[in-house]
């Protein structure tokens, strides 16, 4: 039964050596390793958490960006629409203005034409009057060559004048 009876010498040495080395390693060995690795594990866990956070933030940024793009596009189309409207308005205004101007010019021209026509008519009338006076003079000179006709004519004129006076 040698196998199952613990030998004192071995017990003694085992307690001494194991105890001593355990003391040394518990002080200078294992805690250093485990502390360091725990520190690293904590760092890794923290990094993973940070990475998650950043990812979430990136996602929200992306969404924000998309939102922004959408806004910009909407604004762009609004501006374009406005520009188109403004352009149409400007064109319409210009047209109206031009029409007014043209109307004014036309009116002026008409007035001028009318005035010129008037003066031309007046000139013509004056000319015609002169001409008719000359013609009348010539006719009269022709008709009133003799004394009788002169008298007849004066009578006629007097009659006419008196008739006119009577009528009035």
């Amino acid at each position: 039964m040698n196998l199952v009876t613990p030998d004192f010498g071995l017990l003694f040495w085992m307690v001494v050596i194991f105890g001593l080395v355990f003391f040394l390693l518990a002080k200078f060995g294992f805690p250093i390793i485990t502390d360091m690795v725990d520190k690293r594990n904590a760092k890794i866990a923290q990094s993973l958490k940070d990475a998650d956070e950043i990812e979430a933030r990136m996602a929200s940024w992306k969404q924000e960006q998309a939102q922004m793009m959408e806004d910009v596009r909407r604004e762009q189309s609004a501006i374009l629409r406005e520009a188109t409207e403004t352009k149409a308005k400007i064109v319409a205004d210009a047209k109206a203005q031009a029409k007014a101007e043209a109307d004014k010019i036309l009116a002026e021209a008409k007035q001028q034409i009318a005035a010129e026509k008037e003066s031309a008519l007046r000139d013509v009338r004056k000319e015609v009057a002169l001409l008719s006076v000359q013609v009348a003079e010539k006719v009269l000179r022709q008709e009133l060559k003799d004394e009788g006709s002169q008298r007849a004519f004066i009578d006629k004129l007097v009659d006419e004048a008196s008739e006119a006076k009577l009528r009035s």
Binding site: L3, L10, L25, P31, I32
Partner: protein
């Protein structure tokens, strides 16, 4: 030892002698035989009996000592065992393996001290030891609890790595290994006692209340403490026997496989040759199995120790 030369010179091989010689302790480290002469490392016998006597096994008779039937030193006159703290084969193996563990762990700790662990990946030995140490560390955290597992983690790391290293050294057939250390009951007993004292010196109030004054019906009150104390004592006993028996059985199986070759050799070349093939195949299988068992037993011992410590650290009923 006289038994060794007798076994090999003789044609009749005494199997149990060979096996027990390999798994037992000895006052010298027998390595091999060369031309009928044993080659062995002589080791100092240290005996305390009316003062300290130091001598080698060859000179035992000159110092008044003889060997009894178990091969242990006894006083030649009285036939009694003196206080024998000789550096035997197992003690030398214990010293070498423990020193090796000390160097490995201090080297690893030094690596962690010298390098910034947040910027560098462990290399070499540190990378090899880190998973083992951290495995035990995590095991301690799971079984003992977040609050005080750090206090017990070094002991569990030490126990695990020491058992693992010695289990593997035990499988090695040549010099630094070959001693059957974890298959020796004295060694496993000391390990189990370390666990026992770690558990019971750190027991909380609730742990002792559960042992001596548990919440049970009245008629069980006198019986429960007896059962609980018995259970507390059986825990280290089971730890002792489990590790010891597993490792011893593995050694005996492998040695038996090797011995079959020599037994069958005298039954002719055909039978001897074929049995050699069979026993080598079985030997390889058993060696692989032993590697597995070496790890499992170290793991089981450590895990049970951590569970026992965890049970002793209960904070509430």
């Amino acid at each position: 030892m006289p038994t060794q030369s007798a076994a090999s010179e003789d044609e009749d091989i005494n199997i149990s002698e060979i096996i027990f010689d390999h798994i037992g302790d000895d006052y010298e480290w027998h390595i091999t035989e060369w031309k009928g002469k044993p080659i062995a490392i002589p080791l100092p016998c240290i005996v305390i009996e009316n003062g300290v006597h130091i001598f080698t096994a060859h000179h035992a008779a000159e110092n008044g000592y003889a060997f009894n039937e178990n091969g242990k030193l006894v006083n030649a006159n009285t036939g009694k065992r003196p206080i024998d703290i000789s550096i035997t084969k197992n003690v030398l193996s214990l010293m070498i393996s423990t020193l090796l563990l000390l160097i490995i762990i201090l080297y690893t700790a030094n690596w962690y001290k010298k390098h910034d662990v947040l910027k560098e990946v462990p290399t070499g030995l540190a990378a090899c030891m880190e998973p083992l140490v951290m495995m035990v560390h995590e095991m301690a955290r799971e079984n003992i609890g977040e609050e005080d597992y750090r206090r017990f983690s070094p002991y569990l790391c030490m126990a695990f790595l020491w058992i693992l290293l010695n289990n593997f050294l035990g499988i090695l057939p040549f010099f630094p290994g070959g001693a059957n250390l974890t298959g020796n009951i004295a060694i496993t007993l000391v390990l189990a006692l370390f666990t026992f004292f770690t558990v019971n010196l750190n027991g909380t109030r609730h742990y002792y209340k559960e042992i001596f004054a548990p919440d049970v019906p009245g008629f069980l009150k006198p019986i429960m403490p007896v059962i609980e104390v018995f259970s507390a004592i059986m825990k280290p006993v089971s730890l002792t026997i489990r590790l010891f028996a597993n490792m011893l059985a593995g050694h005996i199986m492998i040695l038996s496989m090797v011995c079959i070759i020599f037994i069958m050799a005298k039954y002719g070349p055909l039978l001897g040759g074929s049995m050699t093939v069979v026993s080598v195949l079985f030997g390889v299988f058993l060696d692989a199995l032993e590697c597995l068992v070496a790890f499992i037993q170290a793991y089981v011992f450590t895990m049970l120790s951590s569970i026992y410590i965890g049970l002793a650290r209960v904070k509430h009923e």
